[in-house]
């Protein structure tokens, strides 16, 4: 899964900023190794953890320069926790984050402050992520001011960015968040994230709360901005359609682990993990003549608390074999290596059609 950069190196669309780029195109912009975060729910009488949530449980991935990596998964899969760990809004329990060759935090590496100039984030809730007492312009100018840009220059930059995200500065600069619609607020949040001129933008369910017609506008804006500034995106969403539209590569997470990862089209055409398959067939159909007749999975996604040994998807998996309960599968490459899945039966799964998957499934009580 680490040697997928090759297909990007020749891509003329990947534009590098010569003043800030360090390792060249082949070096991943972001490398994450063994990222882990457990939340402790209960402690025993000795203060030792008795029950813990495995929010992110050993995640490895690379984000290549100029690409959009989509992360999909259901609630509790750890996708938002991953975003917060990358921004160091939460302290990871273990793991390494390398930004363009430099380890983040620790001695001799990139400082958190410097990392935050390179990496910014847009949150899902457009309202709560803006300070209600600050005007739009002040909110956007805040970051540059923190990093030492003058008050006047910061405000000028804020106005320029407002224009960039499609909001007329004359009309919007002095407005307050409650005077804007959801789509307008999310544009402001995007402008705020861009104000530090980051190279990587993490979009955590950034369009999920918007109406569909507004969502399309914001997605177009994101595509334009990416081209304009040569950005790299980490796009987190539960919406498989949107992820498919915007991402170059996709990572599917389940209960704190990577279930599958690959180039978007390859992954959507031949998903190799039974969970990815289930997710896809759970998407509402857009064809009135081919409505879903049968739910691909029974029950709710479990909480990642005190997991049993073996594969985490076992209890819900239609293709489970004895081996699955004993051994936790690692992410293994399939075919050309750009596509990998954490399933013992991955090779079989990607060849299956939906019908055979459905018949092998039983209604569990």
């Amino acid at each position: 899964m680490m040697n997928t950069a090759n297909h990007l190196t020749d891509d003329p669309a990947v534009r590098l900023d010569p003043t800030r780029d360090r390792g060249g195109k082949a070096q991943p912009l972001l490398s994450v190794r063994g990222l882990r975060k457990h939340f402790i729910l209960k402690r025993d009488g000795w203060g030792k953890p008795a029950s813990r949530v495995h929010a992110v449980d050993g995640v490895d991935f690379d984000v290549h320069k100029g690409e959009t990596l989509g992360i999909v998964g259901e609630s509790g899969c750890g996708k938002s926790t991953t975003a917060r760990l990358l921004m160091h809004l939460l302290a990871p329990d273990a793991g390494e984050v390398i930004f363009d060759g430099d380890p983040v935090g620790g001695l001799g590496g990139l400082s958190l402050r410097e990392m935050r100039r390179q990496m910014q984030m847009v949150f899902q809730n457009s309202y709560s992520s803006l300070n209600p007492r600050m005007s739009v312009e002040e909110s956007i100018a805040f970051g540059p001011q923190v990093h030492g840009l003058g008050r006047r220059e910061s405000r000028q930059r804020a106005r320029r960015l407002l224009d960039q995200v499609g909001l007329s500065p004359a009309l919007f600069a002095n407005r307050y968040p409650h005077e804007l619609s959801g789509g307008q607020r999310q544009r402001v949040n995007i402008a705020r994230a861009l104000a530090l001129e980051p190279r990587l933008l993490i979009l955590d369910e950034a369009v999920s709360a918007l109406d569909k017609s507004v969502e399309a506008q914001v997605l177009n804006l994101l595509v334009d901005l990416k081209r304009e500034y040569g950005l790299t995106y980490l796009f987190i969403s539960h919406d498989l359609n949107v992820v498919r539209y915007i991402s170059d590569r996709v990572m599917v997470m389940y209960l704190g682990k990577v279930a599958e990862m690959g180039d978007t089209e390859a992954l959507y055409r031949a998903p190799a993990h039974p969970y990815t398959r289930a997710l896809m067939s759970a998407m509402p159909s857009m064809d009135p003549n081919r409505r879903t007749e049968r739910a691909p999975l029974v029950g709710d996604p479990p909480n990642p608390i005190d997991l049993p040994p073996g594969c985490r998807f076992c209890p819900r998996c239609p293709l489970v074999v004895d081996e699955c309960h004993r051994r936790e599968p690692d992410l293994m490459a399939l075919g050309d290596g750009a596509h990998s899945a954490a399933c013992l039966r991955a090779a079989e799964v990607s060849g299956l059609d939906d019908a055979s998957l459905a018949t092998s499934q039983e209604e569990s009580p």
Binding site: Q120, N131, M134, V146, E179, R192
Partner: protein, 297 residues
């Protein structure tokens, strides 16, 4: 037709253009439309002006006694609101008394607002064990009934204006700190604080730019509602002889010294109490109005 549907820059901005105004401007706009709050505010303004211009407004000296004109009823020529047990003009004493009464009513709350908010914000923002430690200490003070604590402190320190100001301040720090702490804890976990942290801002900058503005508003509203309590407590301390000392004109003290005359001249005796009542209720109503005016959505 699909290709004619293009997003044009600025297309998102089709909301009707509303006049742009600041937050406090819009708060004032809403407050102005609240008749109760406005009347309360005007009454308070009048009383404050009366306190400031007391020497010019008062028809007589608040100190000049006259044994001949003791305990005159309301409407006596020369003494529109009658006289007290030493023959002093009650109207003049009420006007002069506003100065001290407002001072010892408002000052403790103002002091406690600054100290309490600081304690609460620090505790709420730092969180964890520091928060627990600070708030437990605060709770110990909070556990005492306010009146008892004020009387005990003022009694231990001895009577006098400064001591009563100090003891009242101590009384009001715990409730304000608790409110500030709970609001800060709530604000701290909101996304915009995370966003500010994500932009690399340090804790002090975040407190200064993002926390203060969102915490001090609600705490301020709460503090204004405490002014009425403070007025009454301060008057109580004076009444007990722990606050201002005779012959200083102060409403609580006036209530105390005239109480023997209640059977002789009930209406005159009630006047200082009426003033205390008016001022406290006006502060309460203004605080209520402010609360709803500051509530965006």
């Amino acid at each position: 037709m699909a290709d004619t549907m293009q997003v044009t820059p600025g297309a998102a901005g089709t909301l009707p253009v509303a006049p742009v105004k600041g937050y406090w401007h819009s708060v004032w706009g809403r407050l102005r439309r609240d008749p109760v709050a406005m009347v309360a505010g005007l009454v308070l303004l009048a009383i404050v002006l009366m306190a400031i211009f007391a020497p010019w407004l008062a028809p007589a000296s608040p100190y000049s006694t006259s044994m001949l004109t003791r305990l005159q009823p309301i409407g006596t020529p020369g003494f529109p609101l009658g006289t007290d047990e030493l023959g002093r003009d009650v109207l003049s004493r009420l006007i002069h008394g506003a100065r001290l009464s407002l001072l010892i009513g408002v000052m403790p709350v103002v002091n406690a607002f600054f100290i309490g908010s600081m304690i609460g914000i620090v505790a709420g923002f730092v969180g964890g064990r520091t928060n627990t430690a600070i708030m437990r200490v605060i709770d110990v003070f909070y556990a005492f009934p306010a009146v008892l604590l004020a009387v005990a402190l003022a009694g231990a320190l001895g009577s006098g204006l400064v001591n009563s100001l100090f003891s009242l301040t101590v009384v009001f720090i715990p409730p304000i700190a608790r409110v500030a702490e709970s609001v800060t804890t709530k604000v701290r976990s909101v996304d915009y604080i995370e966003a500010a942290r994500a932009s690399g801002a340090g804790s002090l900058t975040i407190i200064h730019r993002h926390v203060l503005g969102n915490v001090l508003g609600p705490v301020f509203v709460y503090a204004t509602s405490l002014i009425s309590v403070s007025m009454i407590l301060a008057s109580g301390l004076s009444f007990l002889g722990l606050g201002a000392r005779p012959p200083t004109p102060e409403w609580g003290l006036m209530l105390n010294t005239m109480r023997d005359a209640i059977y002789v001249n009930p209406w005159v005796t009630v006047l200082p109490g009426l003033m205390i009542f008016t001022v406290s209720i006006c502060f309460n109503m203004l605080s209520d109005g402010l609360r709803s005016a500051m509530d965006v959505k």
